[in-house]
Amino acid sequence: MKRTHAAIFGYNEYSKQILKQIINIYREITLFVANSEEMNAAANDGLSAELFDLGDDWGTIEKRFDVRTLSVFCALGNDAENVFLTISLRSSFESVFIIALAQNHESMLKMKSAGADKVMPVLQIAANVIGDMITKPNVTHVLHDILYEDEGLGVMEVKIEHTSPLVGTYLYDTDFNTQFDLILLAMVDHERENSFSFAVEGHNHHIDADDVLVLMGDKQKLALFKQWARG
């Protein structure tokens, strides 16, 4: 089910940037703050926020949102609070999509254990970008264009539908490079317990419905492929 609603917990520089970037993606975004200070800061920026308490039973969330369509960003001030928020939400809602911020690798592992679907390790991400900028400037440049630019190259994940012509075939049966001018980056294989693997690892996966292909290429060609793959 498509995620149409988002909730951001915490109001700080990170959540401000997340809000700025996702504002056009979700139909409705709700900001939850832990104290009146954050509430005032949000109000000063022209945003309305709601107070929450980590000890809440989260009944309000259930009443307000269909949790199957909800993405939650745990962006509180410290890792311990984010872990607690994540575990609280996961214990209450199994289907909510939780994205959590972690300062380091150790906290990232805790967030994952607490039930976060995706974790953004802030320092590691920044360090990787700095390191790549110095040692692999061209890679960084290309990845930046692919990830963040609206035009030109992009990356797209395509979930294989039951009706797709790819169902029942093997990866090597399709020449993504020449046929679609796309590069297959990775695949999530439904048959192998949704395990994630890169295409260059050399496994000729059997493609089934619900598998996910991650492709890189021109955004228009990616859109055409997505349409074709739908069947």
Binding site: R3, A6, E13, Y14, K16, Q17, I18, Q21, I25, Y26, S71, F73, I99, L101, Q103, N104, K118, M120, V122, L123, Q124, I125, A126, A127, N128, V129, I130, G131, D132, I134, T135, K136, N138, V139, H141, V142, L143, D145, L147, Y148, L153, V155, M156, E157, Y172, D181, I183, L185, A186, V188, F196, F198, A199, V200, E201, G202, V212, V214, G217, D218
Partner: protein, 519 residues
């Protein structure tokens, strides 16, 4: 008239580029520890010293050929004499002293005083002549002037010259010289004790026919052997009075040895930090290329982990002792220096152009990073500067400070949040590739001459087919990225291929590519 000639000659020498160049080269060779050829020169001199001592020892019981004696007496001594004169030459600048005196007199409307100028110049030269190292140098040349057998022992002064060439010996000397006062006190005390003990034992023993102490020299010899706790036993007191003196001298001897030991130990303890710091400075100056990280934090640690995968070493500047200790506990080359101070870079003799690959400003505040950036830009305009931006509103200030690349973690998280919202698997793929925690990495291959002809053919080999993916070619000259290149794609030298594969496979591909391109 003479004065005018001297002044003219001085101005000529000051303006003469070849003269200055030669003098500068000689100075570097003799005095500049960072000058590459100094190490070779020092090694050469050490070899000469040992050769000289070897010849002296060999001469004791063997007849040496004329060539060896000539070599030792004239060739080595001549080299040492030349070195002595060169040191005397570069020690001070006589022409500069003359010009300064001339301009000083001119300014005050006085006639030029040549004698005053020469006097000052000679005083400066005399500073060198009376220095302990120069005296040793001079004594080491003496065998050159005298072929008398007795004067051959002067060759041993050449061994003392080792202090000039071996840095560790120089350091030892400087450590011990820091306790000069204590050593002088000890020497005076020991000399007094030896004097009193010698006189006393002579008075007590000399008239006893059974006593081996017959002369004042015997008494002095016994005192020295006893006070330094050696006690050969060849001379022993036989009278009761003499034995009492012996007991007192033995006790005082232990005190002298303990005092001497404590002085040496305390000198080393006090200088330990300095020695360690000197070693770190040496380590830095020896590095050909390195990354400089200003400020140690958890982010710095993550960046270092990432950069450590390469072969270029990393140097950290951190002025906070706690953070410095943390950095050192990880085994990093961390120095307690303020990165925002110009003195730091001059003290460490850092060559921005030749030594530094990139500088990363990872301090905890934008204020500190801007301050450091301005310091560095004041010293070098071109060294690549990367900085972390803590507050987005400060971006413009960092740009104005001359920082080339600014990274703001909050912005990165915002952008990644967008990708995660729409394409979580794609995020996973990109993040995994970047973190290099899996067996697949994204890397660059710089295309060199001849590689373009074999690149795509090599890709078709079974080892690489479907296992090494070329995302694109970055055409350096046009700054254009060609995604998913075809076989017909044209390369130029310096273009960069961006590939995706197992790192071992990429390395193998690079090796084969290189071999085929030159084969």
């Amino acid at each position: 008239m003479l004065g005018k000639w001297v002044v003219d000659a001085s101005y000529f020498l000051q303006a003469s580029h070849p003269y200055r160049k030669v003098k500068n080269s000689v100075y570097n060779l003799l005095e500049n520890n960072h000058y590459h050829y100094k190490k070779i020169f020092d090694f050469f001199m050490i070899v000469l010293i040992f050769l000289s001592v070897f010849i002296l020892i060999r001469q004791v019981k063997h007849e040496l050929s004329y060539e060896w004696i000539f070599f030792n007496t004239y060739v080595i001594s001549f080299i040492f004499l030349t070195e002595y004169l060169m040191r005397l030459w570069v020690h001070s600048d006589t022409s500069k002293v003359v010009i300064e005196q001339y301009e000083h007199d001119l300014f005050l409307h006085r006639p030029f005083s040549l004698s005053k100028a020469l006097n000052q110049a000679l005083l400066k030269k005399f500073e060198f002549i009376r220095s302990p190292a120069a005296i040793i140098d001079l004594l080491a040349i003496l065998p050159f002037f005298h072929e008398l057998r007795m004067l051959r022992v002067f060759i041993l002064f050449r061994v003392l010259k080792l202090f000039r060439y071996a840095k560790s010996l120089r350091r030892l000397l400087s450590i011990l010289s820091s306790k000069k006062f204590e050593f002088i006190t000890l020497i005076v005390f020991t000399a007094i004790v030896i004097f009193i003990a010698s006189v006393l034992i002579y008075v007590m023993e000399a008239n006893n026919p059974d006593s081996p102490v017959n002369t004042l020299f015997d008494a002095l010899y016994w005192s020295v052997v006893t006070i330094f706790t050696v006690g050969y036993g060849d001379i022993i007191p036989v009278t009761s009075e003499g034995r009492v003196v012996a007991m007192v001298v033995i006790m005082l001897g232990i005190a002298v040895i303990s005092f001497a030991t404590s002085i040496v130990v305390s000198a080393f303890t006090e200088k330990l930090d300095e020695i360690k710091e000197d070693k770190l400075i040496d380590d830095v100056s020896r590095l050909k290329r390195f990354y400089l990280i200003c400020g140690f934090s958890i982010l710095s640690l993550e960046v270092i982990k990432k950069l450590h995968k390469g072969s270029i070493p990393i140097v950290i500047f951190e002025k906070d002792p706690i953070l410095l200790a943390q950095a050192r506990s990880h085994g990093f080359l961390a120095l307690e220096y303020d990165s925002a101070s110009m003195e730091t870079y001059t003290h460490l003799k850092i060559n921005f152009t030749h030594q530094i690959e990139a500088i990363l400003l990872l301090q905890e505040s934008d204020v500190a990073n801007v301050f450091t950036a301005l310091t560095i830009r004041e010293m070098n305009k071109h060294v690549p500067l990367y900085a972390i931006l803590h507050n987005i509103e400060h971006r413009r200030k960092l740009q104005m400070a001359g920082i080339d690349v600014i990274i703001n973690p909050q912005e990165l998280i915002g952008l990644l949040g967008k990708i995660l919202s729409t394409q979580p698997v794609a995020f996973e793929a990109i993040h995994t590739l970047r973190s290099e925690h899996t067996s697949t990495v994204i890397d660059e291959i710089v295309v060199k001459k001849g590689m373009e002809k074999v690149f795509f053919d090599l890709l078709q080999e079974p080892l690489f087919l479907r296992r090494l993916s070329v995302l694109g070619i970055f055409h350096e000259s046009e700054k254009d990225f060609r995604f998913n290149p075809r076989h017909s794609e044209t390369f130029r030298e310096g273009d960069v291929a961006i590939v995706l594969a197992n790192p071992v496979l990429i390395s193998e591909f690079k090796t084969k590519l290189h071999r085929r391109s030159v084969g």
